[in-house]
């Protein structure tokens, strides 16, 4: 197909070699690769690729525990209504529970401006080309926030149903949001995120009469991926179903 562009013969490209399967457990070291004699020296590493991120996430988690802050990492596709859910949630709980927000987006301050209008402290993190927040971005943002004890911290991740699943931020739980204008088969198509989450909000239920979204099927698919998942069906626009979600938040403090 590509005779002209040269993609089949990349210049200076990285060599990938698939070697024999690694075995877990104590015997694994014996299955190590050994360079041919005289061709370099082997240095053992055996460290997780995301070890540095996980270390900073653990530091964030300790900080939250000491301050008694419940941090929730909100993840979803773009346009599921994360910011609208936050605006409504903050309006409903204001005066009852102290709250703060870290907003993650590739560009703009738009979401932070919306949250700021609700009167709670907010820090915007722009990831530039990055497709997800990482633990260090959250750590830096925490230095700009004065979090109250026994409070809620909402971390709104970049709208992306794939990459944020891999990066621990130090949160108490990931909350995955799916809106009824999306396909009910999203949990099957993007299982990693539903697997990583503890709670699922099904948003925009006020639109159910106008779309073909089958809520029961969506729940069934999500439970196939993660049998621990809990659900709330809400409309952040009309407020329908919000009391269940708000009670869940109160129970986390």
């Amino acid at each position: 197909m590509c005779d002209s562009c040269g993609c089949s013969q990349p210049e200076n490209s990285v060599t990938i070699t698939r070697v024999g399967q690694a075995r877990p457990g104590p015997g694994a070291a014996e299955s190590h690769h050994h360079p041919p004699q005289g061709q370099g020296r082997l240095v053992e590493v055996r460290e997780a690729v995301l070890g540095k991120n996980d270390g900073i996430a653990a530091h964030n988690r300790d900080f939250f525990r000491q301050r008694r802050v419940v941090a929730l990492n909100l993840v979803s596709s773009p346009g599921s209504g994360k910011t609208t859910i936050l605006e409504r949630t903050i309006r409903e709980l204001r005066g009852e529970i102290p709250m703060a927000v870290i907003e993650g987006d590739q560009q703009t301050m738009l979401d932070a401006e919306r949250i700021e209008a609700t009167g709670v402290p907010v820090v915007q993190v722009n990831t530039g080309a990055g497709c997800h927040l990482d633990a260090d971005m959250v750590h830096q943002a925490l230095h700009q926030l004065d979090l109250a004890a026994n409070s809620l911290l909402f971390i709104e991740n970049v709208g992306n149903l794939v990459c944020p699943a891999m990066f621990d931020l130090g949160e108490a739980a990931k909350v995955v949001i799916i809106s009824v204008t999306e396909g009910e088969d999203k949990p099957l198509k993007y299982p990693a995120m539903f697997d990583a989450a503890s709670l699922c909000l099904i948003n925009k239920t006020d639109l159910l009469p106008h779309v073909d979204f089958d809520v029961a099927r969506c729940r069934e698919y999500a439970l196939r991926v993660n049998h621990h998942l809990e659900f709330f069906e809400i409309s952040a626009r009309t407020g329908e179903g919000m009391p269940g979600w708000l009670d869940w938040l109160r129970s986390q403090i």
Binding site: R18, H33, V43, V45, R46, E47, F167
Partner: protein, 114 residues
């Protein structure tokens, strides 16, 4: 494209270890990649090439050791090979499956030129 972040993490970890070991150059990086880890090896190689430029890891070969997924059915106790996070127990048909292997993502070793 989280492979870009993963490539950056790999190059940082590898550069640190290589420097500590007094390497002039990293010739090979041995990675353990669980089949359920969400990493696409080809996408990683593409990003790695860009990220490793002008570091000790430039030009290093990636040795990939893939680790199969293994699941344990929480309903009937059956242990079986998992090829996705959506697997169903072949014995009882249940979906309550605990992943016991396959999410790993590790740098196992480096081969360095001193």
């Amino acid at each position: 494209m989280h492979e870009m972040s993963l490539a950056i993490n790999i190059v940082e970890l590898v550069s640190e270890k290589a420097q500590a070991a007094g390497a002039r150059k990293v010739m090979a990086i041995e990675l353990e990649v669980g089949r359920l880890s969400g990493l696409m090896v080809e996408a990683l190689a593409f990003c790695f090439e860009a990220v490793a430029r002008d570091t000790l890891a430039e030009g290093a070969e990636l040795l990939i050791r893939e680790l199969d997924g293994l699941g344990n059915c929480l309903t009937c106790g059956h242990a079986f090979a998992l090829d996705s996070l959506l697997a169903q127990c072949p014995q009882c048909g249940g979906y309550a499956v605990e992943t016991v292997q396959g999410r790993e993502l590790k740098v196992l070793s480096l081969t360095i030129d001193e």
